[in-house]
């Protein structure tokens, strides 16, 4: 392994460790025993078949949105619009599921996934085109489009497609053929996990083993150089962005087809934001996304048990997560600060030696 990678892994573990220590300190400041808290957290995440299943279920949208972020960030075009693409994808899948109710699953599920992929992909295409053709900042555009999508689906689900049973902010339940079967009793873990495994392998292959993946990486590192090297930078950027949107759309579809069996007005508690943070932490490495998603999924699941057992609010996990991202984002800066500090110290010592 390269020295740079090892250095990165060390700072990654240090960041996570430091964030957990801060978490422990917050527990202690709240008058709780951190050891008891973390024990409950671990037990809640992997303590039983049901807990492991719940952790895996929570991992599904994180892996998809994490991979979506990886491909777009690698190519240097920043898709912050995952949340909006996820909502449109989820609604697209639900729309298929409530209008073609009697379709058998073999046809219905691929169709629903296709529609959600198209919805997510098209919604990412717009900012991509604005970026490459007009040089409009995609970060701002995708942030704005997030809220537009949430509002639009909020309208659709409360008015034209509202369920008959009062105003729930939900559509009717999708046809039975569309409902992905659950794998473990009481947990929401469903067959979407198998689709996710396949998608992950494809994405890994695409990013790490094909010339497209190589070009995308090149563009992200040095667009000018890539252009001179004969890469069609604009086309690759659009491709990366659309694939990113497709993955987010599919993440939304699985929430509908596998978890809720209907579209809900607030179907995502910010999965795309979590996925983005995950990708950022592992520097857009697809395998890293899977591992970090499992870790975040375990934290999320375990935090609920921790809350039940010890009364420590589960939101502590969100605090720990954001502290990890702060440390990772500051990693390079911290490193050069520390190096600078030692260099200065060294220098001073040498000066001192001379004087002596």
């Amino acid at each position: 392994m390269k020295k740079k990678n090892i250095e990165y892994l060390i700072s990654l573990f240090l960041s996570i460790f430091a964030a957990l220590v801060i978490g422990a300190f917050i527990m202690w400041a709240n008058g709780r025993n951190p050891i008891v808290g973390f024990a409950a957290l671990i037990k809640g995440a992997i303590g039983s078949k049901y807990n492991i299943a719940t952790t895996l279920a929570k991992t599904v949208p994180l892996i998809l949105t994490g991979l979506a972020t990886s491909i777009s960030f690698r190519s240097g075009i920043f898709n912050i619009g995952g949340e909006g693409q996820l909502y449109l994808g989820a609604f697209g899948a639900a729309l298929v599921g409530i209008s073609l109710v009697n379709l058998p699953g073999l046809v219905g599920i691929p169709l629903a996934l296709l529609v959600s992929a198209i919805a997510g992909g098209l919604y990412a295409l717009l900012p991509a085109i604005l970026k490459v053709r007009y040089n409009i900042d995609e970060v701002i555009v995708t942030i704005m489009l997030n809220t537009v999508a949430v509002l639009l689906t909020g309208y659709l689900v409360n008015y034209p497609f509202a369920s008959d049973v009062g105003k729930l902010g939900a559509t009717e339940v999708i046809g039975e053929g569309y409902q992905l079967s659950r794998l473990v009793r009481l947990s929401t873990l469903n067959t979407s996990i198998f689709y996710v495994i396949v998608i992950t392998i494809i994405m890994y292959y695409l990013l790490e083993r094909t010339s497209i993946g190589y070009e995308i990486k090149m563009i992200g590192q040095n667009p000018d150089f890539s252009r001179y090297g004969g890469i069609n930078v604009k086309r690759r950027m659009i491709f990366a962005m659309v694939v990113s949107g497709v993955l987010c759309g599919i993440a939304g579809a699985f929430e509908v087809l596998g978890v809720h069996y209907r579209f809900l007005q607030h179907i995502s508690p910010g999965y795309a934001w979590d996925g983005m943070l995950i990708a950022l932490i592992v520097k857009n490495n697809p395998l890293g996304v899977v591992l970090m998603s499992l870790f975040f999924g375990a934290l999320k699941t375990g935090s609920i048990s921790m809350e039940n057992a010890t009364g420590i609010p589960s939101e502590l996990i969100a605090v720990i997560q954001s502290i990890i991202i702060l440390f990772i984002a500051g990693e390079a800066g911290f490193k050069s600060k520390i190096k600078g500090f030692f260099a200065r110290k060294d220098g001073r010592k040498k000066v001192g030696e001379k004087n002596a």
Binding site: Y134, V139, L151, A318, V319, A332
Partner: protein
Amino acid sequence: MLKEIINLTLLQHTIRTATPLILAALGGLLTQHAGILNIGMEGMILLGAFFGVVGSYFFGSSLAGTLLAVAVGIVVGLLFAYFVIDLKSDEFIIGIAINMLAGGLTIFLLRSIFGVKGAFSSPDIVPLPRFSVGFLEGIPLLDTLFNNHTVFVYVSWLLVALIYVYLYKTPHGIWLRAAGEFPDALETAGVSPRKMKYISSILCGVFCGFAGVHLSLGYLTLFTENMSANRGFIAMAAIIFGGAHPVKTFIAALMFGFFDALGIRLQVVGIPSQFTQMIPYLGTIVVLFIVAKNLLRKKKKAIEGESYNE
């Protein structure tokens, strides 16, 4: 029906709802001029709203709430600046991290300090006092429109003028703009761009703190989870809309406040409000598009002109 929607109350609500947008946007435009895109405003407003309630509840005064919110704003502004300027982290990653941290931390503290989920309200939270401009009292229209607001409504208007003068008429303001546009030139002139960036970030934290306090101690005295409700992003939209010019940004924020207030009125009479709520977001994209297109046209013209001259 139309009378129920468009009336004096609507305009009065516009002034109320626009105020946090104006305050946050004024803070954000300072960092924008200093060359930093701050998408952490959303989290900064949320923290301000929460700590405003904390201060007001425990010290029994809205001033204490405001001071606490401002103190937290300064801390977060410093944190943001330290990461972005000194550690050279990506500004939008830090912005997102601050938003996440604010979301998690406020809910966590809401539950560990007050022991409630979702929302906290109590008669012990002292609201901001209402102010009235004496000579407007008794003038029917102006009285309802411009009187009986929290102090931050007037502060926000005053700040628009102050920031305009500061940015364009004082040397310090010119330094701030230079820190974003020509940092090397500023350095040569003996002023540290780093210092100017720090100042802009801290001021942004303070103004977002004001915005938060106006939300939680203004017309309703309570804190609810994710109370900032995208206002940080709308403020960013206003900055883009107004080209980071204080007066134009102010007008944009007022306009977005109007659509927000209109949405609430529409909901009351049972008309879907989602489309009016979309206006700031879609409008921003349209503005960006128009600006970019003009820029392209100018570039094209410049290139054509060159070849003509040759």
